[in-house]
């Protein structure tokens, strides 16, 4: 499973980058996104859900960032 580092990327660029990364995948494939605390971790998961992807989990990293696991939804 690939990990995309979106730390330091502001809204909505982080979401659009995540969208572009998901476009490369097949439905059912998984992707990890590394997100900043604050706006990013609040907005990006909700927006991905709105696009029809499946959120599988959220983990706080040792550095205080967040790792979001997403499964690509049906087209």
């Amino acid at each position: 499973m690939a990990t995309i580092d979106l730390r330091g990327v502001s809204c909505p660029t982080n979401f659009v980058k995540a969208k572009l990364a998901l476009e490369e995948l097949e439905p059912g494939d998984r992707l990890e996104l590394l997100l900043d605390d604050g706006e990013a971790v609040k907005n990006v998961p909700r927006s991905l859900k709105g696009d029809g992807h499946k959120l599988l989990g959220l983990q706080k990293t040792a550095e205080g960032d967040y790792l979001l696991t997403v499964e690509k939804g049906e087209e």
């Binding site: 609040k42 909700r46 959120l55 959220l58």
Partner: protein, 323 residues
């Protein structure tokens, strides 16, 4: 010179609800257009541009309450302006001591934050109550779809703010923690069993937990409007206070009608006075009791009078309510 000598004939019926506002220049008026909730169909926008170009000045003004105002309209052209705007079903707004055109945020059709259909509510109120004389002063209504409250609902005579009461289906929860992370007021924490716990006190009913929940474990138990009454801006601002929670969307017109009836009765003989000042005089309990008869499930147990902002200049001309 011939035009100046002609006596203008104007259909005074067009002026009944107001919306024609005198400008500085001789014979010139601003024509305020009726745009409930700020939603403007593109063909209407084109027609407005056409009429503005033909009869108005070099620009239009976007008012703070979501209207388009045509500037520098000569009063001789009132009938033509009304008739040509009417071709695109565009009407003129209200002003003065009447129910004004309601303001609303974008609502919930395309805005991901919207919890209720504020556009539908604004349109309904506009259709049913537009221009109704209050007998006393202006009467403003606004609809906000969520607690972000972009329309600043509590600065209106009656302000509606969308709200969602969440409930959890523990069995459907996958313990991802997204809801707790997303809960801005910190009402949700993850319990020892890795399931979320909701503390009702700091919850502001924003619905963020429902929106982010990957499995639908968080769902809406109830949605509706929190209603604040008695707000105003201007010379002596007041912030409206909470009178009802989770008012069903379909009861909005009846609720405003109930408030208006109380306002008209209590303001009798007092001339040009706003609703908020009447509530301060009479005490909020009287209005609560009046509304509770018709809306027993929504009206709150107790509230405070509209709030004066201490930073304002001057002394208010009304006597404070004595409990």
């Amino acid at each position: 010179m011939k035009e100046q000598q002609e006596k203008p004939r104007i259909d005074l019926g067009n002026l009944k609800a107001g919306g024609f506002i005198k400008e500085r220049g001789k014979d010139l008026f601003t024509v305020r257009l009726r745009v409930p909730g700020g939603r403007m169909a593109v063909p209407r926008l084109k027609k407005i541009a056409e009429v503005a170009e033909k009869y108005g000045g070099e620009f239009v003004h976007l008012s703070v309450r979501q209207s388009i105002e045509l500037i520098n309209i000569n009063f001789r052209h009132f009938d033509a302006v009304v008739q040509e705007l009417g071709e695109a079903e565009q009407q003129v707004a209200s002003c003065g001591a009447r129910v004004r055109v309601p303001v609303a945020c974008g609502g919930c059709e395309y805005n991901p934050n919207g919890l209720v259909d504020t556009q539908k509510s604004a349109l309904e109120v506009d259709q049913r109550l537009f221009g109704a004389p209050t007998g006393h002063h202006k009467f403003k209504v606004a609809f906000a779809g969520c607690p972000f409250d972009c329309p600043k609902s509590s600065t209106n005579d009656v302000g509606f703010q969308g709200a969602l009461l969440p409930k959890l289906d523990k069995g459907a929860c996958i313990s991802c923690g997204l809801c707790a992370k997303n809960c801005t007021p910190g009402a949700i924490t993850m319990g020892e069993d890795r399931k979320p716990l909701l503390a009702t006190d700091p919850c502001i009913w924003c619905g963020d937990c429902v929106k982010v929940c990957p499995t639908g474990a968080w769902e809406a138990k109830q949605t509706g409007y929190n209603v604040r009454i008695g707000g105003k801006w201007g010379r002596n601002p007041l912030v409206g206070t909470l009178f009802a929670t989770f008012l069903p969307e379909e009861q909005v017109v009846a609720f405003i009608t109930g408030v208006l009836a109380w306002y008209k009765e209590k303001a009798e003989g007092q001339g040009r006075i706003r609703l908020g000042d009447i509530i301060i005089q009479e005490g909020p309990a009287l209005l609560l009791n009046h509304l509770r008869q018709q809306f027993p499930h929504s009206v709150v147990a107790a509230t405070v009078p509209p709030q004066v902002i201490d930073t304002q200049v001057g002394v208010r001309g009304v006597q404070p309510w004595q409990p």
